[in-house]
Amino acid sequence: MSDERILKFHILRYNPQVKGDVPTMKTYEVKEAPGMTIFIALNDIRENHDPSLQFDFICRAGICGSCAMIINGHPDLACRTLTSKFPDGEIKLLPLPGFELIGDLSVNTGKFMRAMSERVESWIHDKYADSVDLDRLEERMEPDIAEQIYELERCVECGCCVSACATKRMRDGFLTAVGFMRLARYALDPRDKRSDEEFYEIVGDDEGVFGCMTLLGCQDYCPKDLPHQTQIAYLRRRMALVK
């Protein structure tokens, strides 16, 4: 059975903090255990083979978005990827492209995501938001609208869409799907008082929604199955109508 398998992990090793270090691929062998995920395997490698191996996990339950990496050529969350998914037992791991490399499999998604949030002004724009009387009933919202907003807010900022985006590869300042999704979320929210003209100022150019080449790697690789395709199309139409 599968618990007898020896898995081969081929991992990109590079520590930019160490002068003279060069990127190399290293192979580690790990004995597979039932239910093993890449999270478990990488910790095994760190504890038993190479304590210097860098990677990021937080929740290890597929909800925090820390551990996205390129797994056999595809961006995905490593924590919830079972090793049993790979019939030949060969697993190649690379850090997520499109982000600053911290070392090995660890990349700086935080810096990128904060910049994205600042760029799309990822908050409710309502000059009264801070003077709301907290003693009174909250503003009502249609239950359907609340559910629709939550659908778009399920993004975990893992960065898979960014790494799967060909437009981003060609155009470094491209906002990418994570930014479009965030904007779409606020555009849908009746509490956000921004007008379409204001949204246009943020995404109405080639660095924004009109730069997208519609290759839709974002749609293919989003671990949360967010509706990127629909939202990009919707934002484009809405932005095209802005005079």
């Binding site: 520590n15 903090q17 160490v18 039932p34 239910g35 995920t37 760190r46 504890e47 190479d50 304590p51 210097s52 191996l53 860098q54 996990f57 937080i58 929740c59 290890r60 339950a61 597929g62 909800i63 925090c64 978005g65 820390s66 919830r80 079972l82 911290i102 070392g103 998604t109 935080g110 810096k111 995501m113 904060r114 949030s117 600042e118 990822s122 908050w123 409710i124 309502d126 938001a129 801070d130 709301v132 907290l134 003693d135 009174r136 009933l137 909250e138 009502r140 919202m141 249609e142 239950p143 609340a146 559910e147 939550y150 807010e153 399920r154 975990v156 900022e157 929210d189 509490r191 956000d192």
Partner: protein, 656 residues
């Protein structure tokens, strides 16, 4: 020497930390948040099921108010909580949720008309009122009289954390990511900031602040299997302990959640049972009504976890290669409900278990989940013995949870404590100038530098990874759901040895910059000390209260143990922490100790309890016209920052 100055330094970028940073910023004080990772990845995001606040908009929440929430919280704590704090909390929770509503959380809303729900295994139709349509709705959770837990699907923590972090970004609050506070800088009982290690460059930086806040979450990772994120290692607690001045409170109060999946320990929310899910044994038999005919699956968490363990011990568990477990059955809720309100649970089942919970049972077992203990604080959030050191959220023992936290009261605490403690942090910044001798900074920086260089230069020694594993196993085996003298004293002895060995850690990979092995080597001795606090406190507490269940002392003993454990580590070279106790004053309790209503009540009562009950009756009799607000002021006068003192409006009730 690199030094960063600010007004308030917040260690930890979860809900509590961010909320305090926002409060201080809004009062005009600079705040810097330190975080191991991007703030949006904090463990707050993992809270699935919801946040308790007595809005009472849903028909099943009708009649709810602060008083009912208070009663549930105090009962839930097994009378171990600080009732002043519980009061501050319940009165402010509705405001906190309404503020988050204004800041963008897409709370699930009441939909008018009929809807089908599952209650006690039966499909029932309930009718929501027209006038409640569009207000924040709520679901049922364990240990509560009303449906009080407000939610966004089962991604409540995620949406709260995103709204909070976005608010912090809007206010321009800097979050210094990949930074770890490794020591508190202090002198003469005053805190001045922290020595912080940059996890990428390895550089040590002194962050000097008027107020320093520990908001680093719980210490679940002291256990081998836990629902907690891998960063919930209690390092914030440990650096407070290592001051020798600031005590930790009730460290032995550790909660086990009934339903984590087997074997990896990932949580499935209490919302599963709140929404009607059942617990079944190996015969497919629903056993909880036999043990707890009243609340059944929705008894308090500590109770359900113990009953499950008892049932497994009777041989009723489902055998598996990872040991026995039980089943969580949510199939009766139907696909539509699961895919809308329990979708994270569904994803977790699909990815980690390869099952579809719409059709199949989920293998579950009680698993370490929450740390009621933490940095002991006053109701203001400040350490009772170190000025300028604050703590909030799971990291703190503010003490609204006592010995058992109710589901939904945890994220609620983070934001409510964030609001309240945030105001006191701002007050502290207003009243205290930044005054520090750089020699003091140097002393602490040199001490930490020296420790790290010793670690890096030691040729041979212990492996930090191995020591951690041993500690986690001891905690699992001997400081678990059911505890006894023999196991606990063994645990204390074994941890003592580990503590000694942890002074001799050596690294295989000897570089000072980005180095996971060095991170581990710095953390593990701290974690072992915390584990010692938990085990030692548990050994000394000879009673059962809430989540602390002693097989050899099964009764709650108010007479001798109605007190809070305070743990100090005063002597750096000591092998054990020093334990003191803080009495809980029955004569000041709004709700004197009584029965929680589970199993047999074998409480040994406190001599003051009867007196206080009589006294309360007299006060009530003497003030026949007092409404519930006036009565509360008579029974339990509390201090709340001015801006949070207003009465809360409810549909159909107004401000009554």
């Amino acid at each position: 020497m690199k030094i960063v100055y600010t007004d308030s330094l917040i260690i930890g970028g979860g809900l509590a930390g961010l909320r305090i940073a926002i409060a201080a910023r809004q009062r005009g004080y600079d705040s810097i948040v330190l975080s191991l990772m991007p703030a949006k990845r904090s463990h707050s995001a993992a809270a699935q099921g919801g946040m308790q606040a007595s809005l009472g908009a849903s028909i099943k929440g009708e009649g709810d108010n602060e008083d009912v929430h208070f009663e549930d919280t105090v009962k839930g704590s097994d009378w171990g909580c600080d009732q002043d704090v519980a009061r501050m909390f319940v009165n402010t929770a509705p405001k906190a949720i309404r503020q988050l509503c204004a800041w963008g959380v897409p709370w699930s809303r009441v939909r008018k008309g009929d809807r089908e729900v599952v209650i006690n295994g039966q499909k029932v139709t309930i009718t929501e009122k027209d006038e409640a349509h569009g207000l924040i709705t709520s679901r049922d959770f364990g240990g509560t009289k009303k449906w009080r837990t407000c939610f966004t699907s089962d991604g409540t923590g995620h949406t709260m954390l995103y709204a909070m972090d976005n608010k912090a970004i809007q206010l321009g609050i800097p979050v210094h990511e990949r930074k770890e506070a490794i020591a508190i800088i202090h002198e003469d009982g005053v805190c001045h900031g922290a020595v912080v290690r940059d996890l990428i460059t390895g550089e040590l930086i002194a962050y000097i602040a008027k107020a320093t806040v520990i908001a680093t979450g719980g210490y679940g990772r002291l256990y081998a299997v836990t629902t907690n994120a891998v960063i919930s290692e209690g390092i914030g607690n440990a650096i407070a302990l290592e001051t020798g001045v600031a005590p930790l409170g009730n460290m032995e109060a550790v909660q086990f959640h009934p339903t984590a999946i087997v074997p990896v320990g990932i949580l499935t929310t209490e919302g599963c049972r709140g929404d009607g899910g059942l617990l079944l044994d190996k015969d497919g038999y629903r056993f909880m009504p036999d043990y707890e005919p009243g609340k059944k699956e929705l008894a308090s968490r500590d109770v359900v976890s113990r009953r499950m363990t008892e049932h497994i011990r009777k041989g009723k568990g489902v055998p598996s290669r990872y040991g026995d477990h039980l089943w969580l059955d949510i199939t009766l809720l139907g696909r539509a409900h699961i895919e809308k309100n329990l979708r994270e649970v569904k994803e977790i089942c699909e990815y980690f278990l390869g099952i579809d919970p719409v059709k199949e049972y989920i293998p579950v077992r009680p698993t370490q989940h929450y740390s009621m203990g933490g940095v002991r604080t006053k109701p203001t959030g400040e350490s009772p013995t170190m000025r300028g050191l604050f703590s909030a959220g799971e990291a703190a023992c503010w003490d609204m949870h006592g010995f058992n936290r109710l589901g939904g009261n945890s994220v609620a605490e983070t934001v409510v404590a964030g609001m309240i403690v945030g105001e006191y942090v701002a007050d502290y910044c207003a009243e205290n100038p930044l005054k520090i001798d750089t020699k003091l900074i140097e002393k602490f920086m040199d001490r930490e530098k020296e420790k790290i260089s010793t670690l890096l230069s030691r040729e041979k020694g212990e492996s930090a990874f191995a020591l951690k594993k041993e500690m986690q196993q001891i905690m699992m085996d001997k400081v678990g759901i059911f505890r006894n003298e023999a196991d606990l004293s063994q645990a204390v002895e074994e941890l003592k040895l580990l503590h000694q060995r942890s002074k001799n850690i050596a690294l295989r990979h000897k570089i000072a910059s980005s180095n996971p092995e060095l991170v581990e080597a710095i953390r593990v001795p701290k974690m072992i000390r915390l584990a010692q606090c938990v085990a030692y406190g548990a050994m000394l507490r000879k009673e059962s209260r809430g989540a602390h269940a002693r097989e050899d002392y099964p009764e709650r003993n108010d007479r001798d143990w109605l007190k809070r454990t305070l743990t100090f580590w005063k002597d750096e070279n000591a092998d054990l922490p020093e334990v003191q106790y803080e009495e809980l004053d029955v004569m000041k309790m709004e709700m004197p100790p009584g029965s929680r209503g589970y199993g047999v009540d074998n409480t040994i009562h406190h001599p003051d309890t009867e007196k206080r009950v009589a006294q309360l009756e007299e006060i009530k009799k003497a003030n026949p016209s007092a409404d519930r607000f006036e009565m509360q002021r008579l029974l339990n006068p509390i201090e709340i920052p001015e801006k949070f003192r207003g009465k809360n409006e409810r549909i159909g009730k107004g401000f009554k």
